[in-house]
């Protein structure tokens, strides 16, 4: 054995490398089968950032389809309910540049919730079919009503209503329960540290 090594150093090295490669290849091959990930994990992460209003303003039927589209390279600025904060989070996750919200898909507005004027409802069930999160309660020829706590404010029930009895109203009125302290005014922090600091344009 030692003789073989000394006599054919090149061959020995080659053999050693090939056998090492075979062993590691086998291990990697096994690992890729054994620890296989189902689906694209990035889709899950994107879907978690999206606001789950399922409103379809991005042009996809729901948040998950849009997450899949983003994973396949679609622009990240098509989600008005997510707003600037959502775009920022997506840009951080995907390591792409932050771009302003695409106005074509709507503007960011306050969170809303649908409200059915129940006296006018004729019980046509059209809104029930349109609601992506089953947040409307009702049956044919029975009055319908919104389960406000489940409504995502997606707006999709307004269009199908034949008697126009659905309103979108702001979800939370400003009040004692929603009030909280605001961050201090950042302007006051731009004060110069040293009294002799002159404003930029006056500096020599």
């Amino acid at each position: 054995m030692a003789e073989f090594i000394t006599q054919y150093p090149l061959l020995t090295a080659l053999l050693a490398l090939v056998s090492l490669g075979a062993v590691f290849g086998a291990i990697l091959g096994f690992a890729s089968e054994r620890f296989k990930t189902e689906g694209n994990p990035i889709v899950e992460q994107i879907n978690e950032i999206l606001p789950q209003t399922q409103c379809g303003q991005c042009g996809h039927p729901g948040c998950r389809p849009y997450a899949e589209a983003i994973a396949n390279g679609e622009a990240i600025n098509k989600c008005p309910p997510g707003g600037e904060a959502g775009i920022q989070a997506l840009a951080d996750l995907l390591d792409v540049e932050v771009i302003p919200l695409d106005e074509e898909h709507g503007e960011q507005s306050v969170k809303k919730v649908a409200f059915i004027r129940e006296a006018e409802c004729i019980g046509c069930t059209k809104c029930l079919v349109a609601c992506p999160v089953d947040a409307i309660l009702g049956a044919a020829k029975q009055m319908h009503t919104i389960i406000a706590s489940e409504c995502t404010g997606c707006d999709l029930c307004v269009e199908p209503c034949p008697v126009d009895c659905i309103d979108m109203i702001p979800a939370q009125q400003e009040g004692l329960q929603t009030w909280h302290w605001q961050l201090p005014d950042p302007v006051s922090l731009e004060v110069d540290i040293i009294a002799t600091d002159a404003p930029r344009e006056e500096a020599a």
């Binding site: 042009g59 039927p61 947040a135 922090l189």
Partner: protein, 673 residues
């Protein structure tokens, strides 16, 4: 002598306590009107049990607790309920909250009440019920329902009961004067709690800057199992977690409760309230409040009825509004500016501070953080305030949580020592609120995701089931055909019918290539009508003959009629769709998808238009809708539809007309501009 421990950080601000302890507790008397907010505690607001116009006696229940974590409210004096409405309350937001307003009759007439001389005869549940019924919430400042805190959960062993007489915040002397004047009640209340919890040690912790209070407590506690512990003055040793560390050397874990280390902490004011409730049978209707600051002539402590307007109390103390810069509820470190002097005193109002401009000068503008680290040195929770300040500015909430933002007790020591005058606590308060909001939002979006996915699954399952049924039917038909074929060459009537139907269908398919959709629909209507006529004729015949088949024929007629209706509707829809839009698109299968597409198309069209054009388009759309609605209305009137439908349509028409008027106005405005 018990060993006392220290805690990290802390500061020694000027105490300014001597001004308000020179005179004994004064009775504030009865103000003409009392405003009692329904939420003076942590938890659900109480629910009123009285109505406007009711006459109430002192101590009468006026609002019941809602749920477990809540407390009842009682009338602080006798009088008439004049209003139950929104009033401004002592809250930094300056918002209004529901309150019960009582006009006093100045008789101060008590409702019959009785305590129990020997509470030792009562079992624990009865004592806790009395505390709960008396409406006691933590008197130290947070206002957590005391009965909830004292109901120790099964399996949790409490070995130390701590009564907090620290009162470490400058200016406030409400607990100090209580210890001087009502030490026996404090000890009696403490003994009641001791009976409830059965700890191995009961301690009353007091800072060494209150020698009179300490002496009074010591003499009152003589011969009992209550131990009075004195320890050096330092702010904020009165914080619950800090006091526990001082007295026991144990640290409450991050995010945990004192009960996790076997401790329950109560304020001395709460002890007196418990004594009043259990021994005297009196609910919590008054408290001791310090009125101090240089803008009042006579700083002192008052026994004041809950609901008394602050302005009434300030007047008693000789308040000079022109001198005062602002009015603070609580102390100078953790208090907040009240929106107006007319807000009421509540269960947690331990101090009213009216400082002058000289006393509390306007803070200098905040400057940049110089990373001196003094805030980290004084933080009693051993946090890194300067680090959290950066994260709060950058809204890096995850990092803030990793730096244990939620262990911050908002004591204000960091802001007090900051040489750059940065209002650090305000950053932490705002960030905490924002994180909690985000958590709620996340929870909601998770819920929406689950519902959305469940719905998708349900729809897919329904579709699959339909498909399976269809396949099963097809298979059964084929089997029958095969069976018939195998039975022999004899002509099978069913197979023949199937064949005929198939042939007819094939003919239709080939024919329909040049037959327009409209013609097809018309044909369908005509054939169905004919079938209906035949079926009706047969039915009439069967009825005349009294045949058994009447029932079956009746169903057949009904079905055919329904089919005819459907066919007519399809025809009508088709005609209307054709007149509206010449190129009717194939209807999308999913209603949600359809709505999305419609909304998308409208939105993209809108984006390209100028405001005037937009307004005009809007107007046109509305007019179209109005016409349609009018037509629908007329149609349903003619066909004698239900009143409800007609009414709904009428209101739609009305609203649309209103909308059109508004749109016209807008159009004029945009064109004018």
């Amino acid at each position: 002598m018990r060993k006392v421990f220290g805690f990290h950080g802390g500061i020694h601000p000027p105490e300014n306590k001597h001004q308000s302890v020179r005179t004994p507790i004064a009775d504030a008397g009865i103000p003409p009107q009392l405003i009692i907010p329904l939420s003076q505690h942590i938890g659900a607001p109480a629910v009123p049990v009285v109505a406007v116009g009711d006459v109430v006696l002192k101590g009468q229940l006026i609002a019941e607790p809602e749920g477990f974590v809540s407390v009842p409210l009682h009338a602080p004096t006798s009088g008439t309920i004049v209003a139950i409405e929104e009033r401004q309350i002592a809250h930094p937001s300056g918002y209004q909250a529901p309150c019960i307003v009582i006009a006093s009759d100045f008789n101060d007439e008590w409702i019959p009440h009785s305590g129990t001389g020997d509470y030792r005869d009562l079992d624990k549940a009865q004592v806790i019920e009395r505390i709960r019924a008396a409406g006691i919430a933590g008197m130290g400042g947070a206002g957590f329902p005391t009965a909830v805190k004292l109901s120790v959960r099964e399996g949790v062993k409490i070995d130390t009961l701590i009564i907090n007489g620290t009162e470490c915040e400058p200016y406030i002397t409400a607990d100090d004067i209580l210890m001087r004047e009502r030490a026996t009640q404090i000890v009696a209340g403490t003994l009641i709690m001791q009976q409830l919890i059965e700890p191995s040690a009961t301690l009353i912790g007091v800072e060494d800057n209150k020698p009179e209070g300490l002496a009074a407590l010591r003499s009152a506690a003589e011969g009992t199992a209550v131990e009075i512990v004195e320890f050096p003055t330092k702010y904020p040793s009165g914080g619950e977690k800090q006091l526990i560390e001082i007295l026991t050397g144990k640290q409450v874990p991050s995010g945990g409760l004192p009960a996790d280390v076997g401790v329950i902490c109560q304020n001395v004011g709460t002890a007196v309230a418990i004594y009043d409730a259990v021994v005297l049978g009196r609910p919590l209707i008054s408290r001791i409040t310090t009125v101090t600051g240089e803008a009042v002539a006579q700083a002192q402590n008052f026994e004041v009825l809950l609901g008394t307007p602050m302005s009434y109390l300030l007047e008693l103390a000789g308040y000079q509004p022109q001198e005062s810069r602002r009015l603070i509820m609580g102390g100078p470190m953790m208090g907040f500016t009240v929106p107006s002097p007319d807000v009421p005193i509540v269960k947690t109002t331990n101090c009213l501070l009216a400082p002058t401009e000289k006393e509390f000068p306007t803070p200098a503008p905040a400057q940049a953080c110089i990373r001196c680290g003094m805030c980290a040195q004084v933080c009693p929770a051993s946090l890194l305030p300067q680090q959290m300040f950066w994260f709060a500015q950058g809204k890096e909430f995850e990092k803030l949580e990793n730096h244990n933002l939620f262990d911050c007790i908002e004591c204000g020591a960091c802001s007090w020592v900051c040489p750059s005058n940065i209002p650090l606590v305000q950053y932490y308060r705002a960030s905490k609120a924002e994180i909690l909001q985000l958590r709620r939002d996340n929870e909601k979006s998770e819920q929406a995701r689950i519902r959305f996915e469940a719905r998708q699954e349900r729809l897919a399952a329904a579709e699959e089931e339909k498909e399976a049924k269809r396949a099963a039917r097809k298979k059964a038909a084929e089997e029958r055909a095969q069976q018939a074929a195998a039975d022999g060459g004899e002509e099978d009537p069913i197979q023949a019918a199937i064949d005929r139907a198939k042939a007819k269908k094939a003919a239709q398919v080939t024919g329909s290539a040049d037959e327009s959709e409209l013609e097809k629909l018309e044909k369908a209507v005509v054939t169905t009508r004919k079938r209906l006529e035949t079926a009706s004729g047969k039915l009439a015949q069967a009825r005349d003959q009294g045949s058994d088949l009447v029932q079956a024929l009746q169903t057949g007629v009904d079905k055919t009629r329904a089919k005819l209706d459907a066919a007519e509707k399809a025809l009508h829809d088709y005609q209307q769709a054709n007149s509206d839009a010449p190129m009717a698109k194939a209807a999308p299968t999913d209603a949600a998808q359809a709505a999305i597409e419609k909304a998308m198309a409208a939105r993209s069209a809108e984006a390209a238009l100028s405001p005037a054009e937009k307004a005009r388009a809007q107007l046109g759309k509305l007019q179209q809708r109005l016409e349609k609605s009018r037509a629908k209305l007329a149609e349903s009137r003619d066909s004698g539809a239900e009143d409800k439908i007609i009414e709904a349509l009428e209101s739609t028409v009305e609203r649309l007309s209103e909308k059109i008027a508004a749109a016209e106005q807008e159009l004029q405005a945009t064109e004018g501009a």
